[in-house]
């Protein structure tokens, strides 16, 4: 009897370890969220406007609002979401291991991330681009003139790689100064430890306000990269990615049709698409595995795209730029709700 004790123990252990693996692979994250009664959303905790902890201990920001919108669409309550602050380096492991259900942390959509990193991207919620900020009195107006300058950049981001690509293409030599943290980057720049700072333009604009004399600094009128930022889900869970994508489209659609946080519950229309959108007719909710009024819940929670933008990014001095509905010449284009 004793002979088999070890084998039995090993078998039991093996079953214990393998069972969750198998169970894990069959169930969509959507079902897990409904079971748990709570969405777990990976966010940034130190990017003004996009994700940060506010004074009263609640989470605020553009990305955070999207987390709330998804929670409202799936669970009918924007409060049923748990935010996990993540560093840039930890965000993809957290997604792959199922620690978080969705990652909304100003993450750029690139080919490598879409393929190698096992991530599925929802439509971009913010089209950003990398720019340069420098002191006005340097008198520099074009990239070529940056030759020989010290340029501050944060470590481990696409920003660093874009800078290297651009300077190589231009055939100029610059001296990159790499900082581990965003906060120290701008502080060092303000103290004159580097001549130029490069990052996403949204960040440059919001951080310029925190410098000692914001008017002494200009942001060059060049954009060296495309940075489409949006929510990310784990690769292979199409059902869940559909839900996240359509919540994003819902915010676009609502802005296109003038549906806002205040009028969404009383919106009176004969337009069949809007009726479907609001859950008054049809069954688009059921097709996504969501309640009938999912889109209405999402808009009632955080408002349409324009409202989310105005609440979080306009106060920082960010212009809408290309982040406008396609009807106004922007890039936001909702796929038909049919």
């Amino acid at each position: 009897m004793r002979k088999y004790l070890f084998q039995t123990a090993a078998l039991v252990l093996a079953i214990l370890f393998v069972t969750p693996l198998v169970a894990n692979s069959q169930e969509s994250i959507l079902e897990k969220i409904k079971e748990r009664g709570r969405l777990i959303c990976g966010v940034n905790k130190e990017l003004p406007g996009f994700g940060y902890l506010s004074q009263d201990g609640t989470w605020k920001g553009f990305d955070v609002d999207y987390g709330r919108a998804i929670a409202a669409a799936v669970l009918g309550d924007p409060k049923k979401v748990e935010f996990r602050p993540l560093k840039a380096a930890d965000r993809f492991p957290a997604l792959q291991t199922g620690e978080i259900d969705v990652l909304i942390r100003n993450t750029t959509w690139t080919l490598t991330r879409d393929t190698d990193l096992g991530a599925d991207f929802a439509p971009p919620t913010f089209y950003d681009g990398q720019g340069f900020m420098l002191r006005k009195d340097l008198g520099i107006t074009s990239l070529k003139e940056l030759a020989g300058a010290t340029i501050g950049v944060t470590a481990g981001s696409t920003t660093e790689l874009n800078l290297a690509d651009t300077t190589r293409a231009l055939g100029i030599e610059v001296e990159p100064v790499v900082f581990e943290e965003t906060e120290t980057l701008y502080q060092s720049y303000d103290q004159g430890r580097c001549d130029v700072v490069t990052s996403d333009k949204s960040q440059l604009l919001s951080r310029r306000q925190s410098l000692k004399n914001p008017d002494d600094h200009i942001i060059l009128d060049v954009t060296i990269s495309k940075e489409p930022l949006g929510p990310v889900t784990v690769h292979g869970d199409n059902k869940w990615n559909d839900v996240v994508s359509w919540v994003v489209y819902a915010t676009f659609f609502a802005e296109e049709h003038g549906i806002t946080q205040t009028n969404v519950n009383t919106f009176d229309t004969e337009n069949p698409e809007i009726k479907r959108f609001l859950g008054a007719s049809g069954d688009i909710g059921a097709k996504l595995g969501l309640p009938k009024d999912w889109a209405r819940q999402a808009i009632a929670a955080v408002g349409n795209y324009g409202e989310i933008f105005d609440r979080n990014l306009t106060p920082l001095g960010l212009p809408r730029g290309v982040n406008k509905p396609w009807t106004q010449g922007g890039l936001l284009y909702a796929i038909p709700f049919r």
């Binding site: 969750p20 130190e46 902890l53 004074q55 609640t58 560093k87 291991t97 199922g98 920082l316």
Partner: protein, 393 residues
């Protein structure tokens, strides 16, 4: 003639006491010391001048009171804050009772704590917070008078302290979705919880490991040695990262709470160091002590508990407290894996758009809080040492 000599008046030495004499003895006793003193004063003046000018004219201290709640409890929901106060009241009651029963150090701590609540109540805070603060003082005072003199209660209160920990955890967490998720625990609250768990659990674990390493049984000795050397060979941050990233990879679907993972990481890490500190003490116990204990018929457990450990631990108190203090400060590493402890709160405040660019004020405040706690630990250890007569040969 002789009498006269004996009663001859001898003038007392002048100027043996007082500030002027102290200055002369300690700072200006020789010409080169006088020069060094003056130089040091000049340096101090310039260093302090910059700091004081900044602290009183440039620094924007508004950021501290405005974010005080965040510093203390992080994103703990406002409407559930009574849970934190209940936990504080449980501790206050135990503190008061212990102060009444034991006096001495505990009494001084109880007084200091009451002082903190009193000052908090005077600060411009909400009325409800004032009420809670004054209530805490009343709690300490009432339980102090209840406990005074009733020495029979001592074992009960010790049991109460041990029981208080799980009770407080439940009070802070609540049940299910209506409670407060541990991901919302933050600020000083989280720092203290992690540190207390680390200290309370790693100490017995460390003693156990140290005894195992001294064991005569090779298997036990090797396991213990391997554990201690492996853990000591790895930085804490790596262990925390492993807890955070590798556990979910190895055991998918098994949802271990993030705070719990960090508690495990910190405890196991600290236990290895604790074991080595204790082993240092064990080695200082002469062989004769063991033999004498055996001669009077004590078995291994009795020898260890009543003869060896009391002497061994006594001699390594400074090292152990040093380890506790290091552990307390090491809890700040959890900020890197996404928990928002005291340092994490500081970092998120300096990134709040309303308070951008105030790193110095925020970090300085966090440093002061860390210092208060570390100094309290150090003070307590000195008091215990004096009580045990260590250092007085």
């Amino acid at each position: 003639m002789e009498d006269q000599e004996l009663t001859q008046e001898i003038k007392p030495p002048t100027n043996t006491k007082g500030a002027a004499r102290w200055l002369k003895d300690n700072l200006f006793d020789t010409w080169y010391n006088a020069i060094l003193t003056c130089l040091a004063l000049v340096c101090l003046f310039f260093a302090l001048k910059g700091f004081l000018t900044w602290a009183f004219t440039e620094a924007e201290w508004d950021v501290i009171p405005a974010n005080f709640r965040l510093f203390m409890v992080g994103s703990y929901p406002q409407e559930q804050i009574w849970r934190v106060w209940n936990a504080i009241y449980i501790l206050s009651a135990l503190m008061g009772l212990s102060a009444g029963l034991w006096g001495g150090l505990v009494f001084r701590f109880a007084v200091a704590l009451s002082g903190v609540w009193f000052i908090s109540a005077l600060l411009p805070v909400e009325l409800s917070t004032r009420g809670w603060c004054l209530g805490a003082i009343a709690m300490i005072a009432v339980s102090f008078f209840l406990g005074r003199g009733r020495t029979g209660l001592r074992p009960w209160i010790l049991g109460g302290w041990i029981l208080s920990f799980p009770v407080i955890m439940v009070v802070l967490r609540g049940f299910g979705e209506n409670g407060v998720l541990t991901s919302n625990w933050g600020g000083l609250l989280l720092t203290l919880i992690l540190a207390v768990v680390g200290i309370v659990v790693s100490f017995p674990l460390g003693v156990f490991l140290a005894l195992c390493r001294q064991s005569d049984l090779p298997a036990i000795r090797w396991v213990s040695t391997t554990y201690i050397e492996t853990v000591r060979g790895v930085p804490l941050i790596t262990i925390l990262f492993m807890g955070n990233v590798l556990i979910p990879i190895f055991m998918p679907g098994l949802d271990i709470n993030q705070v719990l993972r960090m508690m495990f990481g910190i405890t196991f890490f600290s236990a290895a160091y604790m074991a080595e500190n204790v082993r240092g003490g064990l080695q200082g116990i002469p062989r004769g002590q063991h033999e004498a204990a055996q001669a009077v018929g004590l078995n291994y457990v009795q020898t260890t508990l009543f003869i060896v450990l009391p002497q061994a631990l006594r001699s390594v108190i400074p090292a152990i407290v040093g380890q506790f203090i290091a552990l307390f400060k090491d809890t700040s590493l959890v900020a890197i894996i996404g928990l928002i402890d005291l340092l994490g709160v500081a970092r998120s405040i300096i990134n709040n758009p309303d308070w951008l660019g105030l790193q110095a004020e925020v970090y300085l405040f966090a440093a002061v809080i860390y210092f208060i706690f570390c100094y309290a630990m150090s003070y307590a250890s000195q008091d215990v040492e004096t009580g045990l007569g260590i250092g007085h040969i």
